[in-house]
Symmetry: C2
Subunit: 396 residues, 2 copies
Amino acid sequence: MTIFTSFHPPQRTLMGPGPSDVHPRILQAMSRPTIGHLDPAFIGMMDELKGLLQYAFQTQNALTFAVSAPGSAGMETCFTNLIEPGDTVIVCQNGVFGGRMKENVERCGAMAIMVEDEWGTPVSLDKLADALEIHPEAKAVAFVHAETSTGVQSDAAAIAKLARKHQCLTIMDTVTSLGGTPICMDEWGIDAIYSGSQKCLSCTPGLSPVSFSDKAAQVIQQRQSKVQSWFLDLNLVMGYWGEGAKRAYHHTAPINALYGLHEALVILHEEGLEQAWARHELHHKALKAGLEAMGLTFLVYEAYRLPQLNTVTIPSGIDDATVRSRLLSDYQLEIGAGLGVMAGKVWRIGLMGHSACKKNVLLCLAALDSVLSELGADIKSGVAVAAANKVYADTE
Amino acid sequence: MTIFTSFHPPQRTLMGPGPSDVHPRILQAMSRPTIGHLDPAFIGMMDELKGLLQYAFQTQNALTFAVSAPGSAGMETCFTNLIEPGDTVIVCQNGVFGGRMKENVERCGAMAIMVEDEWGTPVSLDKLADALEIHPEAKAVAFVHAETSTGVQSDAAAIAKLARKHQCLTIMDTVTSLGGTPICMDEWGIDAIYSGSQKCLSCTPGLSPVSFSDKAAQVIQQRQSKVQSWFLDLNLVMGYWGEGAKRAYHHTAPINALYGLHEALVILHEEGLEQAWARHELHHKALKAGLEAMGLTFLVYEAYRLPQLNTVTIPSGIDDATVRSRLLSDYQLEIGAGLGVMAGKVWRIGLMGHSACKKNVLLCLAALDSVLSELGADIKSGVAVAAANKVYADTE
């Protein structure tokens, strides 16, 4: 008979594209006693969570909550509720996640008009404007604010403005941006937004914060057809997450995971959004100085670079997997591989949430320097840490 | 500015229809350091988890894993993958969850043929046999093994045998049965099964263990149409949960929640399935003796009663909500309300997983006795605990 024993994970430093290092306060919150999903104490916590998410997204939307599943389910919640068979959706793709949006649109029985940009560049406003002119029937524009596959940020305010001009709803992926770079949902006029718990919020993976404008909520209430997913049908979910003391059972909420997300958002609120954005920017600058001093280059043009996700080109002659597995075994350090067409060509170094700190920046630079030197890569060794420290010194 | 602080839940005793009391080892496991979803250490844990789930379901099915969302999403995983537009599915309904199955079937664009039985009774084999005769086009039979809304267990082996005779797949809900009463997936010939983490496994809510027979897996691979949910599409999910060291990213797994489920299953394996079933049976007998001594009656006929979910009729003149809220405030004890047509008429007292213990049985009886007496209910006071203790003494 097989013997099974408790699992004791190693203690890693997480600098990939998420999950990021989880704050100890969050792990502690998740281990508090489970209570019922209709317990008055839990309902009170849900109300607070909603307020905290409104703060994080910078919105007043009543329909703001956390989907009981990972970011991909948050994406599906947006599409499956807003889109009906026969609709047309303009999907901007400049990385992996735009492609996933296309899949979602098509699985809703709708038509996806693709606005494609090269991976590593932002969404082109000109191309989007053209698509909107050619497709006046379009119901929505969907785009990724921060492409996790490339480390590019697109101009969400400008995209939303264009979409509004053509009476289109906007659906925005903020999985990697939430808590790391500015999101101003109401000011920008975004109609539907989804994110993930495990990136710049530094919570464990498994939940997807979402928010819908009143206009979007109305579209959902006035659908001609039923939402194809019972689990994600917001007309039903809102009986549980909606206003008032009388919450109707829809599904059993992931109680302890929600404790964790609540704590993550309390931490973000304590620090302040602007301060969190500035912290991500600072550590990105230090990491960038170190990587560039070493001779590594960024995939993304500086103006569109996400501070929280640094995509660097793998030096020629160096095997991707060898480096990552040596970082993991010798330094307990995880960095991310390239995704899709970028596999084997780039590394994605995350500085997300609790991982965006000086300790991690210096460890990453020192470890990369050591491993690359040992493997005979054509880099300048022994200068990275000093270059990063100079950035820290200059900003003090 | 609103001040937000950490959430400290009260310490409840959970004797509703789930979540049940979570074992401290599980809460501890969930608070261990988060690692990446592609970390070799995590992949190793996933392999073990699969073996543990195979044990719990008593199956050799390769396609056995945990859906990254609650039981309702597990249900949807089964329907959305196995059923295509135009299919016919026979759905046996004898409570709330059969109705949810109907919703799922219809949202897949398929036709649901309902076999309806009174709430509080099991699925009628005769009615099912008739439906199978009348509908030779049926592709699958779906039923609930243990109805969480009523506390009834249906004869899964007999239902599956009937379905097989008519070349139908079987889809079985085991949300409340897994770990509490016998499930022999392979022996019974069940094709698709889903469950929840928060009932007799005593884990936190949020994950749905599932398993599919080879035949079911083949049906999924040979679909004519794409699965309408990208997130739940098993043709994609299996790239991550499948065999071999090379796991492809599909979505970010809920790492720490999976630590918890792993630990819950290790605990079940240590105790042994038969021993866990016997424990649920023992404490049910003690609770039953106490409730009946008090004068309370069960909704369900004894032969079909689930030991882990005891549905008792609310004494006449007694207000449901008053009793439950007093149990919660005075004894930190949660019991469940009636669901659907049973609302206000019954209580559902769970003895699930870690909650199925002598301490909880005696607390529940003593607290119910006190509250009902204070409210002037027509019960026999002061005898329940002794009646339960007699059962314990007799089995020692």
